[in-house]
Symmetry: C2
Subunit: 398 residues, 2 copies
């Protein structure tokens, strides 16, 4: 069986621009781990995080949402020795309204920042979106600022967090690292990793080093001057793995640690788990701008049910939790392990109906979306400026 380096194997395609399960099926995450060469996060790793941070691990870690990693153990080894690290995550600002899937890496990153008390850099790849989506520079930058407000609304600590737009920040030490990375990666290599063709423009070919270099502390001289040995941990969805496979390949050749990764699966579409949610179909996702009424209507109308066709059959056979979207969404967002286990048991046994589970999900999501909306409304332009100012971070390791 031929496995291509860009994640294409038979029909399962996972790369930064496309997430597509085999026809009619779900993403096979075990196969993806094999293809990409990362490791599964097991219970002992979750327990180790609990012990080291004295925090209950985030629901996304307890429930295998962040399910794969590269060298996360080494980050924890270093942390245990008293060394610190920094977090790097990012977002390509392609659309005005974020959906819940977009928030997942940020919710998780906030937890990591709080639990480990480490600095965080958040890259807004407005250049990438200008390159791929045919947006103007100005529109990409406007979207970057709008998205920054949603990110800030997730509760990041301004004394530990630097948010930057590539269009504003690329240059100096960052650009020098881009050149160093570019020198280590042949065109054939990026074709293998990303599937570029000769008809792709060179803006695309030039971009991978931009996403690579925030993994290196020297790209942020105002933060990590003289700390070239500082390790980096990247929380992201697994479709970003190709960028960081490339980065990890290059890192030791230019004198840096390989960045470690902690990778999530995709938040499924309302219609079912065949990929990640699509910004082009508003009915496939719950947006942070959806009203309580929108949420209720979308879940009742579109959330794919694993329940049976008739109440009688349902009482007899129970729901198929493997494909049931309301239950899956609760696994992401219902924090209470006991309640989730109860719902799973009752629903799976047919004693609870889809309507009841949807009802609970509507409550949970409405609360999250309302909380987000309130938090975002409180984010001022001055706060965005404060997060994006090129400055030292006063509470970096406190």
């Amino acid at each position: 069986m031929e496995i291509k380096e860009n994640g294409e194997e038979e029909q399962q395609i996972v790369n930064p621009w496309k997430v597509e399960a085999k026809e009619g099926g779900k993403i096979d995450y075990d196969k993806l781990i094999d293809q990409f060469g990362c490791q599964r996060i097991d219970q002992s790793l979750v327990d180790r995080v609990r012990r080291l941070t004295s925090h209950t691990p985030h629901v996304f870690l307890r429930r295998d949402v962040f399910f794969a990693h590269r060298d996360f153990n080494e980050i924890l080894d270093a942390y245990e020795r008293g060394e610190k690290f920094y977090l790097y995550t990012g977002r390509g600002p392609s659309s005005e309204a974020l959906h819940l899937g977009h928030l997942i890496p940020f919710m998780f990153t906030k937890y990591l920042q709080d639990a480990f008390k480490v600095p965080l850099v958040i890259q807004l790849t407005d250049d990438e979106k200008c390159i791929w989506k045919n947006l103007t520079v100005e529109e990409s930058q406007r979207l970057a600022r709008e998205n920054a407000k949603d990110i800030i609304a997730c509760g990041f600590d301004v004394t530990r967090t630097f948010i930057f737009s590539d269009f504003d920040y690329v240059g100096g030490a960052f650009y020098k690292n881009m050149v160093k990375v570019g020198k280590c990666v042949t065109y054939n290599k990026v074709v293998g990793i990303f599937g570029f063709t000769g008809e792709d423009h060179i803006g695309k070919v030039s971009f991978p080093p931009v996403q690579a270099v925030p993994s290196f502390p020297s790209s942020f001289p105002h933060l990590f001057s003289g700390q070239d040995n500082l390790r980096c941990l990247i929380p992201c969805a697994i479709d970003q793995d190709p960028y960081f496979r490339m980065t990890r390949d290059v890192a030791p050749r230019i004198g840096y640690h390989k960045p470690a990764l902690i990778e999530s699966l995709f938040f499924p579409a309302l219609q079912g788990e065949t990929g990640k949610m699509s910004a082009s179909d508003p009915n496939s996702a719950i947006y942070v701008t959806d009203s309580a009424k929108d949420i209720k209507s979308k879940i009742n109308k579109f959330a794919f049910s694993g329940g049976q066709d008739t109440i009688e059959k349902h009482r007899e056979l129970g729901a198929n939790l493997e494909v049931d979207i309301p239950y899956k969404y609760l696994k992401f967002f219902l924090d209470d392990d006991i309640e989730l286990a109860y719902i799973g048991k009752e629903y799976g046994a047919g004693r609870m109906l889809t309507g009841e589970v949807k009802q609970r999900l509507i409550q949970v999501l409405t609360e999250i979306v309302e909380r987000h909306r309130r938090a975002r409304a409180a984010v001022t332009d001055e706060m965005v400026d404060a997060f994006m100012a090129v400055r030292p971070l006063p509470n970096m390791f406190n």
Copy 2:
């Protein structure tokens, strides 16, 4: 006859990395003009420059050293209407000592700046040299500063000239233009223009936009803010034409004028006119660091003579000025048209001997090199900082 876009046709190869005549021959500049699609500079254009500037045109213009152009007439049209323009030239800082060939574009650019009273940006492509020559970032930047001293020694006016290192200056508006250019050029296109292969690293593929964007005034917001219509004239050796063919192709698609070009032939090696001088063979060129003794010895020993084998034959047949390097070098550097004509006549008729012509050339070059050495010794680090400071230019159009 197949003519490749990258300037390869049969054995004549002219691109930014290779200048090679057909075996045993000279560069065929007429053919190059055809291949590249530029225009020859004719007497009426030289006369027009004389009229518009009220200056005697530079010896390099009078004697076809700058022999080709693109849209230079349009620059002069605009100038005649009272519009200004700016000059852009550059240097890839690859070696510590410059040879006379390296100085030619700068000597000519200084003349243009003085004659037209226009601002000038000089790009030091330290990133390019780091990418191609496997120099470290630090070494490339050190060489850039060393080369800047040689450039400043050519007499540029600090109130009209901005010198920048790519490693220091790439970012902001400059980077935004790089992305805009990158979006307009496919990988296949750069393969056609520059001959890249799949084994070339993506640092190379990413570079052409870096050399392109100083052609656009918005890349220099501290100089040309709000003057996006300002035209750009690029004096350079003709091997740089591929970069600017690409740039001219892109310019109108992103809202800028096509930059105009004025292009020189290559300063021949001492051994004869089969290409441009090579930094790897110190005996092929006169360096600005050569002592008077070095110059004398190199010219006497290595300068290819078009004179005859014996004095008798020489008196009878005269020198072949078409291949005679001492005479060719005088055409570049002996300012006095009457004396040059006299030497040409006497030497060509056999009344003057190679030794006498070499003697005169040694005087001329020793004087130029000595003058350069004195000027360069007077260039302080503070002066380099002043030329390279990101600042408005007070005398831009005065």
